[in-house]
Symmetry: C2
Subunit: 254 residues, 2 copies
Amino acid sequence: MSGHLAVVGLGPGDARYLTEEATATLGAADALYGYGPYLDRVPTRAGQSRHASDNREERTRAAAALRHAARGARVAVVSGGDPGVFAMATAVCEEIETGPESWHALDVTIVPGITAMLAVAARIGAPLGHDFCALSLSDNLKPWDLIERRLDAAAIAGFVIALYNPVSRARPWQFGNALERLRRHLPPTTPVVFGRSVGRPDECLSVTTLDAADTEAADMATLIIVGSRETRVIARNGRSPLVYTPRAAPEVSA
Amino acid sequence: MSGHLAVVGLGPGDARYLTEEATATLGAADALYGYGPYLDRVPTRAGQSRHASDNREERTRAAAALRHAARGARVAVVSGGDPGVFAMATAVCEEIETGPESWHALDVTIVPGITAMLAVAARIGAPLGHDFCALSLSDNLKPWDLIERRLDAAAIAGFVIALYNPVSRARPWQFGNALERLRRHLPPTTPVVFGRSVGRPDECLSVTTLDAADTEAADMATLIIVGSRETRVIARNGRSPLVYTPRAAPEVSA
Protein backbone atom coordinates (compact mmCIF):
# COMPACT_ATOMS: atom_id res chain seq x y z
CA MET A 1 0.00 0.00 0.00
CA SER A 2 1.80 3.11 -1.22
CA GLY A 3 -1.03 5.60 -0.85
CA HIS A 4 -0.82 8.47 1.57
CA LEU A 5 -3.47 10.74 3.03
CA ALA A 6 -2.62 14.00 4.75
CA VAL A 7 -5.12 16.27 6.49
CA VAL A 8 -3.60 19.74 6.43
CA GLY A 9 -4.47 22.71 8.63
CA LEU A 10 -4.35 26.02 6.76
CA GLY A 11 -4.73 28.19 9.85
CA PRO A 12 -7.16 31.10 9.99
CA GLY A 13 -6.74 32.36 6.45
CA ASP A 14 -3.60 34.27 5.65
CA ALA A 15 -0.56 32.44 4.27
CA ARG A 16 1.61 33.84 7.07
CA TYR A 17 -0.09 31.40 9.47
CA LEU A 18 0.91 28.35 7.40
CA THR A 19 3.56 26.11 8.94
CA GLU A 20 6.51 24.86 6.92
CA GLU A 21 5.11 21.34 7.21
CA ALA A 22 1.74 22.41 5.77
CA THR A 23 3.38 24.19 2.83
CA ALA A 24 5.59 21.18 2.07
CA THR A 25 2.74 18.67 2.36
CA LEU A 26 0.46 20.67 0.07
CA GLY A 27 3.25 21.03 -2.48
CA ALA A 28 3.95 17.27 -2.52
CA ALA A 29 0.32 16.16 -3.00
CA ASP A 30 -0.98 14.63 -6.26
CA ALA A 31 -4.53 15.63 -5.38
CA LEU A 32 -6.19 18.17 -3.09
CA TYR A 33 -9.64 17.78 -1.55
CA GLY A 34 -11.55 20.36 0.41
CA TYR A 35 -14.24 22.98 0.79
CA GLY A 36 -13.91 25.32 -2.19
CA PRO A 37 -12.90 28.54 -0.39
CA TYR A 38 -10.17 26.66 1.52
CA LEU A 39 -8.82 25.09 -1.69
CA ASP A 40 -8.69 28.56 -3.22
CA ARG A 41 -6.10 29.56 -0.61
CA VAL A 42 -3.62 26.93 -1.84
CA PRO A 43 -1.27 27.95 -4.69
CA THR A 44 -1.92 25.91 -7.84
CA ARG A 45 0.70 23.54 -9.17
CA ALA A 46 0.80 21.81 -12.55
CA GLY A 47 -0.13 18.13 -12.41
CA GLN A 48 -2.04 18.44 -9.13
CA SER A 49 -5.77 17.73 -9.29
CA ARG A 50 -8.32 19.64 -7.20
CA HIS A 51 -11.61 18.33 -5.87
CA ALA A 52 -13.81 21.01 -4.31
CA SER A 53 -16.90 20.10 -2.33
CA ASP A 54 -19.54 21.84 -0.26
CA ASN A 55 -18.97 22.90 3.34
CA ARG A 56 -21.37 20.34 4.81
CA GLU A 57 -20.08 17.27 2.98
CA GLU A 58 -17.27 16.30 5.35
CA ARG A 59 -17.92 12.55 5.40
CA THR A 60 -18.40 12.31 1.62
CA ARG A 61 -15.25 14.35 1.03
CA ALA A 62 -13.25 12.24 3.49
CA ALA A 63 -14.41 9.01 1.81
CA ALA A 64 -13.55 10.29 -1.67
CA ALA A 65 -10.07 11.33 -0.51
CA LEU A 66 -9.50 7.95 1.19
CA ARG A 67 -10.57 6.06 -1.97
CA HIS A 68 -8.19 8.18 -4.00
CA ALA A 69 -5.29 7.59 -1.62
CA ALA A 70 -6.02 3.85 -1.48
CA ARG A 71 -5.35 3.73 -5.22
CA GLY A 72 -1.75 4.71 -4.44
CA ALA A 73 -1.82 8.52 -4.72
CA ARG A 74 -0.55 11.22 -2.38
CA VAL A 75 -3.74 12.99 -1.34
CA ALA A 76 -4.14 16.05 0.88
CA VAL A 77 -7.41 17.14 2.46
CA VAL A 78 -7.30 20.81 3.38
CA SER A 79 -8.97 22.13 6.51
CA GLY A 80 -9.37 25.64 7.88
CA GLY A 81 -7.64 26.32 11.20
CA ASP A 82 -6.45 23.09 12.81
CA PRO A 83 -7.83 19.89 11.24
CA GLY A 84 -8.29 18.31 14.67
CA VAL A 85 -10.53 21.04 16.14
CA PHE A 86 -14.12 20.74 14.85
CA ALA A 87 -12.71 19.97 11.40
CA MET A 88 -11.71 17.36 8.82
CA ALA A 89 -9.37 15.05 10.80
CA THR A 90 -12.33 13.68 12.78
CA ALA A 91 -14.37 13.02 9.64
CA VAL A 92 -11.40 11.14 8.15
CA CYS A 93 -11.04 8.99 11.31
CA GLU A 94 -14.78 8.25 11.26
CA GLU A 95 -14.55 7.07 7.64
CA ILE A 96 -11.44 4.96 8.31
CA GLU A 97 -13.11 3.19 11.23
CA THR A 98 -16.22 2.26 9.25
CA GLY A 99 -14.52 1.86 5.86
CA PRO A 100 -12.83 -1.06 4.04
CA GLU A 101 -9.75 -2.77 5.52
CA SER A 102 -7.50 -1.11 2.92
CA TRP A 103 -8.19 2.26 4.53
CA HIS A 104 -6.86 1.00 7.88
CA ALA A 105 -3.55 0.23 6.18
CA LEU A 106 -3.12 3.70 4.68
CA ASP A 107 -0.34 6.01 5.75
CA VAL A 108 -2.25 8.92 7.37
CA THR A 109 -0.69 12.20 8.51
CA ILE A 110 -2.43 15.04 10.29
CA VAL A 111 -0.65 18.39 9.87
CA PRO A 112 -1.67 20.73 12.68
CA GLY A 113 -2.54 24.38 12.11
CA ILE A 114 -3.35 27.55 14.03
CA THR A 115 -6.94 27.06 15.16
CA ALA A 116 -9.27 30.09 15.28
CA MET A 117 -9.22 30.52 19.06
CA LEU A 118 -5.40 30.80 19.11
CA ALA A 119 -5.44 33.32 16.25
CA VAL A 120 -8.15 35.47 17.82
CA ALA A 121 -6.50 35.29 21.25
CA ALA A 122 -3.16 36.37 19.81
CA ARG A 123 -4.71 39.41 18.10
CA ILE A 124 -6.23 40.66 21.37
CA GLY A 125 -3.70 39.69 24.07
CA ALA A 126 -3.84 36.44 26.02
CA PRO A 127 -7.44 35.65 26.99
CA LEU A 128 -6.63 31.91 26.96
CA GLY A 129 -3.74 32.41 29.36
CA HIS A 130 -5.40 30.31 32.04
CA ASP A 131 -7.53 27.12 31.92
CA PHE A 132 -9.98 27.22 29.01
CA CYS A 133 -12.31 25.11 26.91
CA ALA A 134 -13.42 24.95 23.29
CA LEU A 135 -17.08 24.27 22.64
CA SER A 136 -18.99 24.05 19.37
CA LEU A 137 -22.46 25.61 19.50
CA SER A 138 -23.66 23.48 16.60
CA ASP A 139 -26.46 21.17 17.66
CA ASN A 140 -26.51 19.38 14.32
CA LEU A 141 -24.74 16.37 15.87
CA LYS A 142 -25.36 16.76 19.59
CA PRO A 143 -28.43 17.66 21.62
CA TRP A 144 -28.81 21.28 22.71
CA ASP A 145 -29.30 20.37 26.37
CA LEU A 146 -25.83 18.79 26.37
CA ILE A 147 -24.38 22.07 25.09
CA GLU A 148 -26.20 23.92 27.88
CA ARG A 149 -24.81 21.55 30.50
CA ARG A 150 -21.30 22.11 29.14
CA LEU A 151 -21.74 25.90 29.16
CA ASP A 152 -22.92 25.73 32.78
CA ALA A 153 -20.07 23.44 33.85
CA ALA A 154 -17.37 25.50 32.13
CA ALA A 155 -18.60 28.86 33.45
CA ILE A 156 -19.11 27.64 37.02
CA ALA A 157 -15.70 25.93 37.13
CA GLY A 158 -13.94 29.08 35.89
CA PHE A 159 -12.80 28.04 32.42
CA VAL A 160 -12.44 30.72 29.76
CA ILE A 161 -14.76 29.57 26.95
CA ALA A 162 -14.02 29.64 23.21
CA LEU A 163 -17.21 29.23 21.18
CA TYR A 164 -16.96 27.73 17.68
CA ASN A 165 -19.78 27.65 15.09
CA PRO A 166 -21.94 30.19 16.95
CA VAL A 167 -24.63 30.63 14.28
CA SER A 168 -25.73 29.56 10.83
CA ARG A 169 -28.84 30.09 8.75
CA ALA A 170 -30.24 26.84 10.14
CA ARG A 171 -29.24 27.68 13.74
CA PRO A 172 -30.39 31.27 14.40
CA TRP A 173 -31.18 31.21 18.15
CA GLN A 174 -28.44 29.03 19.65
CA PHE A 175 -25.83 31.75 20.25
CA GLY A 176 -28.31 34.05 22.00
CA ASN A 177 -29.43 31.18 24.16
CA ALA A 178 -25.79 30.39 25.04
CA LEU A 179 -25.13 34.00 26.08
CA GLU A 180 -28.25 33.96 28.28
CA ARG A 181 -27.01 30.75 29.85
CA LEU A 182 -23.58 32.22 30.58
CA ARG A 183 -25.12 35.39 32.10
CA ARG A 184 -26.58 33.20 34.84
CA HIS A 185 -23.10 32.33 36.06
CA LEU A 186 -20.74 35.16 35.11
CA PRO A 187 -20.68 38.88 36.02
CA PRO A 188 -22.16 41.32 33.46
CA THR A 189 -18.72 42.89 33.04
CA THR A 190 -17.06 39.64 31.94
CA PRO A 191 -14.98 40.46 28.82
CA VAL A 192 -16.18 38.93 25.54
CA VAL A 193 -14.10 38.94 22.34
CA PHE A 194 -15.55 38.54 18.85
CA GLY A 195 -13.04 37.59 16.13
CA ARG A 196 -13.63 37.07 12.44
CA SER A 197 -11.42 36.49 9.39
CA VAL A 198 -8.18 36.94 11.34
CA GLY A 199 -5.30 37.76 9.03
CA ARG A 200 -7.57 38.46 6.07
CA PRO A 201 -8.46 41.87 4.59
CA ASP A 202 -11.92 41.70 6.17
CA GLU A 203 -10.54 40.94 9.65
CA CYS A 204 -12.86 42.15 12.37
CA LEU A 205 -12.10 42.08 16.10
CA SER A 206 -14.11 43.59 18.92
CA VAL A 207 -14.14 43.54 22.71
CA THR A 208 -17.33 43.94 24.69
CA THR A 209 -18.86 42.68 27.93
CA LEU A 210 -21.17 39.77 28.56
CA ASP A 211 -24.18 42.03 29.25
CA ALA A 212 -23.56 44.05 26.08
CA ALA A 213 -22.65 41.13 23.79
CA ASP A 214 -24.88 41.27 20.71
CA THR A 215 -25.77 38.11 18.83
CA GLU A 216 -25.88 40.17 15.62
CA ALA A 217 -22.11 40.60 15.88
CA ALA A 218 -21.53 36.91 15.10
CA ASP A 219 -21.89 34.91 11.92
CA MET A 220 -20.76 31.38 11.05
CA ALA A 221 -17.15 32.51 10.58
CA THR A 222 -16.93 34.20 13.99
CA LEU A 223 -15.03 32.82 16.98
CA ILE A 224 -16.11 34.13 20.38
CA ILE A 225 -14.04 34.05 23.56
CA VAL A 226 -15.97 34.55 26.81
CA GLY A 227 -13.66 35.34 29.70
CA SER A 228 -13.71 33.92 33.21
CA ARG A 229 -14.19 35.98 36.37
CA GLU A 230 -10.44 36.65 36.30
CA THR A 231 -10.14 37.91 32.71
CA ARG A 232 -8.97 41.53 32.51
CA VAL A 233 -8.94 44.35 29.96
CA ILE A 234 -6.02 46.78 29.74
CA ALA A 235 -7.14 50.05 28.13
CA ARG A 236 -4.40 51.71 26.09
CA ASN A 237 -4.35 55.29 24.78
CA GLY A 238 -4.35 55.23 20.99
CA ARG A 239 -4.10 51.46 20.83
CA SER A 240 -6.60 48.63 20.96
CA PRO A 241 -7.11 47.17 24.45
CA LEU A 242 -5.32 44.04 25.61
CA VAL A 243 -7.51 41.26 27.02
CA TYR A 244 -5.82 38.61 29.15
CA THR A 245 -6.46 36.04 31.85
CA PRO A 246 -3.83 36.07 34.61
CA ARG A 247 -1.91 32.91 35.39
CA ALA A 248 -2.81 33.13 39.05
CA ALA A 249 -6.28 32.19 40.31
CA PRO A 250 -7.39 33.32 43.76
CA GLU A 251 -8.57 30.92 46.43
CA VAL A 252 -12.17 32.10 46.13
CA SER A 253 -12.41 31.61 42.35
CA ALA A 254 -15.11 29.38 40.83
CA MET B 1 7.31 55.51 20.70
CA SER B 2 9.05 53.38 18.04
CA GLY B 3 9.69 50.27 20.13
CA HIS B 4 8.04 47.01 19.30
CA LEU B 5 7.56 43.84 21.33
CA ALA B 6 6.58 40.53 19.73
CA VAL B 7 5.81 37.34 21.65
CA VAL B 8 6.50 34.51 19.24
CA GLY B 9 5.24 30.93 19.43
CA LEU B 10 7.82 28.39 18.27
CA GLY B 11 5.44 25.42 18.25
CA PRO B 12 6.40 22.11 19.82
CA GLY B 13 10.04 21.99 18.84
CA ASP B 14 10.80 21.19 15.22
CA ALA B 15 11.24 24.02 12.70
CA ARG B 16 8.59 22.48 10.44
CA TYR B 17 5.94 23.69 12.91
CA LEU B 18 7.04 27.32 12.63
CA THR B 19 4.65 29.63 10.81
CA GLU B 20 5.87 32.06 8.18
CA GLU B 21 4.92 34.92 10.49
CA ALA B 22 7.05 33.50 13.33
CA THR B 23 10.07 33.04 11.07
CA ALA B 24 9.74 36.59 9.71
CA THR B 25 9.25 38.15 13.14
CA LEU B 26 12.26 36.37 14.64
CA GLY B 27 14.41 37.40 11.68
CA ALA B 28 13.43 41.08 12.02
CA ALA B 29 14.13 41.35 15.76
CA ASP B 30 17.05 43.35 17.20
CA ALA B 31 16.97 41.32 20.41
CA LEU B 32 15.62 37.94 21.46
CA TYR B 33 14.53 37.04 24.99
CA GLY B 34 13.56 33.60 26.26
CA TYR B 35 14.21 30.42 28.15
CA GLY B 36 17.60 29.16 26.99
CA PRO B 37 16.51 25.91 25.28
CA TYR B 38 13.83 27.80 23.32
CA LEU B 39 16.32 30.47 22.21
CA ASP B 40 18.63 27.68 21.04
CA ARG B 41 16.02 26.68 18.44
CA VAL B 42 16.20 30.06 16.70
CA PRO B 43 18.87 30.46 13.97
CA THR B 44 21.46 33.06 14.94
CA ARG B 45 21.81 36.26 12.95
CA ALA B 46 24.61 38.82 13.08
CA GLY B 47 23.70 41.98 14.99
CA GLN B 48 20.92 40.33 16.97
CA SER B 49 21.41 40.14 20.74
CA ARG B 50 20.22 37.18 22.83
CA HIS B 51 19.08 37.21 26.43
CA ALA B 52 18.54 33.76 27.92
CA SER B 53 16.87 33.29 31.26
CA ASP B 54 15.66 30.49 33.48
CA ASN B 55 12.38 28.65 32.92
CA ARG B 56 10.70 30.05 36.02
CA GLU B 57 11.54 33.71 35.48
CA GLU B 58 8.64 34.67 33.20
CA ARG B 59 7.76 37.98 34.85
CA THR B 60 11.38 39.12 35.12
CA ARG B 61 12.01 38.15 31.49
CA ALA B 62 8.86 39.93 30.32
CA ALA B 63 9.85 43.11 32.20
CA ALA B 64 13.38 43.06 30.78
CA ALA B 65 12.03 42.64 27.24
CA LEU B 66 9.51 45.47 27.72
CA ARG B 67 12.21 47.80 29.07
CA HIS B 68 14.38 46.99 26.05
CA ALA B 69 11.51 47.58 23.58
CA ALA B 70 10.57 50.85 25.31
CA ARG B 71 14.05 52.13 24.44
CA GLY B 72 13.03 51.91 20.77
CA ALA B 73 14.23 48.42 19.78
CA ARG B 74 12.45 45.59 18.00
CA VAL B 75 12.35 42.87 20.65
CA ALA B 76 11.01 39.31 20.36
CA VAL B 77 10.22 37.08 23.32
CA VAL B 78 10.22 33.42 22.28
CA SER B 79 7.78 30.93 23.74
CA GLY B 80 7.37 27.20 23.28
CA GLY B 81 4.12 26.09 21.64
CA ASP B 82 1.62 28.95 21.50
CA PRO B 83 2.54 32.02 23.59
CA GLY B 84 -1.08 32.45 24.72
CA VAL B 85 -1.50 28.96 26.22
CA PHE B 86 0.16 28.71 29.65
CA ALA B 87 3.08 30.71 28.26
CA MET B 88 4.77 34.09 27.84
CA ALA B 89 1.98 36.26 26.36
CA THR B 90 0.18 36.27 29.71
CA ALA B 91 3.31 37.25 31.63
CA VAL B 92 3.86 40.12 29.19
CA CYS B 93 0.27 41.35 29.65
CA GLU B 94 0.65 41.15 33.44
CA GLU B 95 3.80 43.28 33.27
CA ILE B 96 2.22 45.83 30.92
CA GLU B 97 -0.79 46.27 33.22
CA THR B 98 1.33 46.92 36.30
CA GLY B 99 4.24 48.63 34.54
CA PRO B 100 5.02 52.25 33.58
CA GLU B 101 2.75 54.20 31.21
CA SER B 102 5.33 53.91 28.42
CA TRP B 103 4.72 50.15 28.27
CA HIS B 104 1.01 50.74 27.59
CA ALA B 105 1.98 52.75 24.50
CA LEU B 106 4.22 50.02 23.03
CA ASP B 107 3.35 48.25 19.82
CA VAL B 108 2.79 44.66 20.95
CA THR B 109 2.25 41.67 18.65
CA ILE B 110 1.50 38.11 19.68
CA VAL B 111 2.47 35.54 17.03
CA PRO B 112 0.47 32.33 17.57
CA GLY B 113 2.06 28.89 17.36
CA ILE B 114 1.08 25.22 17.41
CA THR B 115 0.39 24.50 21.08
CA ALA B 116 1.33 21.08 22.49
CA MET B 117 -2.19 19.65 22.58
CA LEU B 118 -2.70 20.32 18.87
CA ALA B 119 0.65 18.74 17.99
CA VAL B 120 0.06 15.64 20.13
CA ALA B 121 -3.51 15.29 18.86
CA ALA B 122 -2.34 15.48 15.24
CA ARG B 123 0.25 12.75 15.79
CA ILE B 124 -2.35 10.33 17.13
CA GLY B 125 -5.53 11.10 15.15
CA ALA B 126 -8.18 13.56 16.31
CA PRO B 127 -8.79 13.15 20.06
CA LEU B 128 -9.77 16.85 20.31
CA GLY B 129 -12.39 16.40 17.56
CA HIS B 130 -15.23 17.25 19.93
CA ASP B 131 -15.59 19.73 22.81
CA PHE B 132 -12.43 19.84 24.93
CA CYS B 133 -10.61 21.80 27.60
CA ALA B 134 -7.02 22.65 28.45
CA LEU B 135 -6.04 22.58 32.10
CA SER B 136 -2.68 23.22 33.76
CA LEU B 137 -1.93 20.88 36.67
CA SER B 138 0.50 23.36 38.19
CA ASP B 139 -0.68 24.53 41.59
CA ASN B 140 2.07 27.12 41.86
CA LEU B 141 -0.38 29.92 41.10
CA LYS B 142 -3.79 28.39 41.87
CA PRO B 143 -5.09 26.24 44.72
CA TRP B 144 -5.17 22.48 44.17
CA ASP B 145 -8.83 22.21 45.15
CA LEU B 146 -9.72 24.52 42.26
CA ILE B 147 -7.89 22.17 39.88
CA GLU B 148 -9.86 19.25 41.32
CA ARG B 149 -13.14 21.10 40.82
CA ARG B 150 -12.21 21.79 37.21
CA LEU B 151 -11.24 18.15 36.59
CA ASP B 152 -14.58 17.03 38.03
CA ALA B 153 -16.57 19.56 36.01
CA ALA B 154 -14.81 18.77 32.73
CA ALA B 155 -15.08 14.98 33.07
CA ILE B 156 -18.72 15.02 34.16
CA ALA B 157 -19.72 17.42 31.37
CA GLY B 158 -18.02 15.25 28.73
CA PHE B 159 -15.10 17.45 27.67
CA VAL B 160 -11.95 15.77 26.39
CA ILE B 161 -9.21 17.04 28.73
CA ALA B 162 -5.71 18.18 27.74
CA LEU B 163 -3.40 18.34 30.77
CA TYR B 164 -0.44 20.74 30.67
CA ASN B 165 2.41 20.86 33.22
CA PRO B 166 1.56 17.45 34.74
CA VAL B 167 4.61 17.11 37.00
CA SER B 168 7.80 18.78 38.11
CA ARG B 169 10.37 18.09 40.81
CA ALA B 170 8.45 20.41 43.13
CA ARG B 171 5.05 18.88 42.21
CA PRO B 172 5.45 15.08 42.36
CA TRP B 173 1.96 13.93 43.42
CA GLN B 174 -0.41 16.19 41.50
CA PHE B 175 -0.68 14.15 38.29
CA GLY B 176 -1.44 10.91 40.15
CA ASN B 177 -4.07 12.72 42.17
CA ALA B 178 -5.61 14.10 38.97
CA LEU B 179 -5.83 10.62 37.42
CA GLU B 180 -7.51 9.31 40.57
CA ARG B 181 -9.97 12.15 40.38
CA LEU B 182 -10.81 11.43 36.73
CA ARG B 183 -11.25 7.70 37.47
CA ARG B 184 -14.22 8.62 39.67
CA HIS B 185 -16.10 9.95 36.65
CA LEU B 186 -14.83 8.14 33.55
CA PRO B 187 -14.80 4.45 32.53
CA PRO B 188 -11.52 2.51 33.10
CA THR B 189 -11.23 2.00 29.34
CA THR B 190 -11.21 5.75 28.55
CA PRO B 191 -8.31 6.35 26.11
CA VAL B 192 -5.37 8.36 27.44
CA VAL B 193 -2.59 9.73 25.21
CA PHE B 194 0.87 10.70 26.46
CA GLY B 195 2.89 12.93 24.13
CA ARG B 196 6.37 14.30 24.58
CA SER B 197 8.86 16.19 22.39
CA VAL B 198 6.64 16.03 19.30
CA GLY B 199 8.67 16.60 16.14
CA ARG B 200 12.01 16.20 17.92
CA PRO B 201 14.37 13.20 17.74
CA ASP B 202 13.30 12.09 21.22
CA GLU B 203 9.58 12.19 20.36
CA CYS B 204 7.57 9.76 22.44
CA LEU B 205 3.88 9.00 21.99
CA SER B 206 1.82 6.34 23.71
CA VAL B 207 -1.82 5.35 24.02
CA THR B 208 -3.17 3.66 27.12
CA THR B 209 -6.37 3.57 29.16
CA LEU B 210 -7.36 5.54 32.23
CA ASP B 211 -7.05 2.51 34.54
CA ALA B 212 -3.58 1.64 33.17
CA ALA B 213 -2.22 5.20 32.94
CA ASP B 214 1.07 5.39 34.81
CA THR B 215 2.23 8.61 36.40
CA GLU B 216 5.82 7.56 35.72
CA ALA B 217 5.14 8.00 31.98
CA ALA B 218 4.92 11.79 32.39
CA ASP B 219 7.53 14.45 33.04
CA MET B 220 7.34 18.23 32.86
CA ALA B 221 7.56 18.17 29.05
CA THR B 222 4.66 15.72 28.63
CA LEU B 223 1.20 16.67 27.39
CA ILE B 224 -1.59 14.26 28.32
CA ILE B 225 -4.96 13.96 26.59
CA VAL B 226 -7.68 12.16 28.53
CA GLY B 227 -10.59 11.18 26.32
CA SER B 228 -14.30 11.53 27.00
CA ARG B 229 -16.77 8.63 27.12
CA GLU B 230 -17.07 8.94 23.34
CA THR B 231 -13.36 8.83 22.46
CA ARG B 232 -12.44 5.81 20.32
CA VAL B 233 -9.30 3.89 19.35
CA ILE B 234 -8.92 2.39 15.86
CA ALA B 235 -6.42 -0.49 15.93
CA ARG B 236 -4.43 -0.80 12.71
CA ASN B 237 -2.29 -3.75 11.59
CA GLY B 238 1.32 -2.68 11.33
CA ARG B 239 0.52 0.95 12.11
CA SER B 240 0.04 2.92 15.29
CA PRO B 241 -3.59 3.21 16.42
CA LEU B 242 -5.72 6.24 15.64
CA VAL B 243 -7.43 7.90 18.60
CA TYR B 244 -10.36 10.20 17.85
CA THR B 245 -13.49 11.71 19.36
CA PRO B 246 -16.51 11.57 17.03
CA ARG B 247 -18.29 14.77 16.10
CA ALA B 248 -21.62 13.35 17.18
CA ALA B 249 -22.58 13.03 20.85
CA PRO B 250 -25.45 10.76 21.84
CA GLU B 251 -28.45 11.97 23.82
CA VAL B 252 -27.35 10.10 26.95
CA SER B 253 -23.82 11.53 27.05
CA ALA B 254 -22.50 13.40 30.09
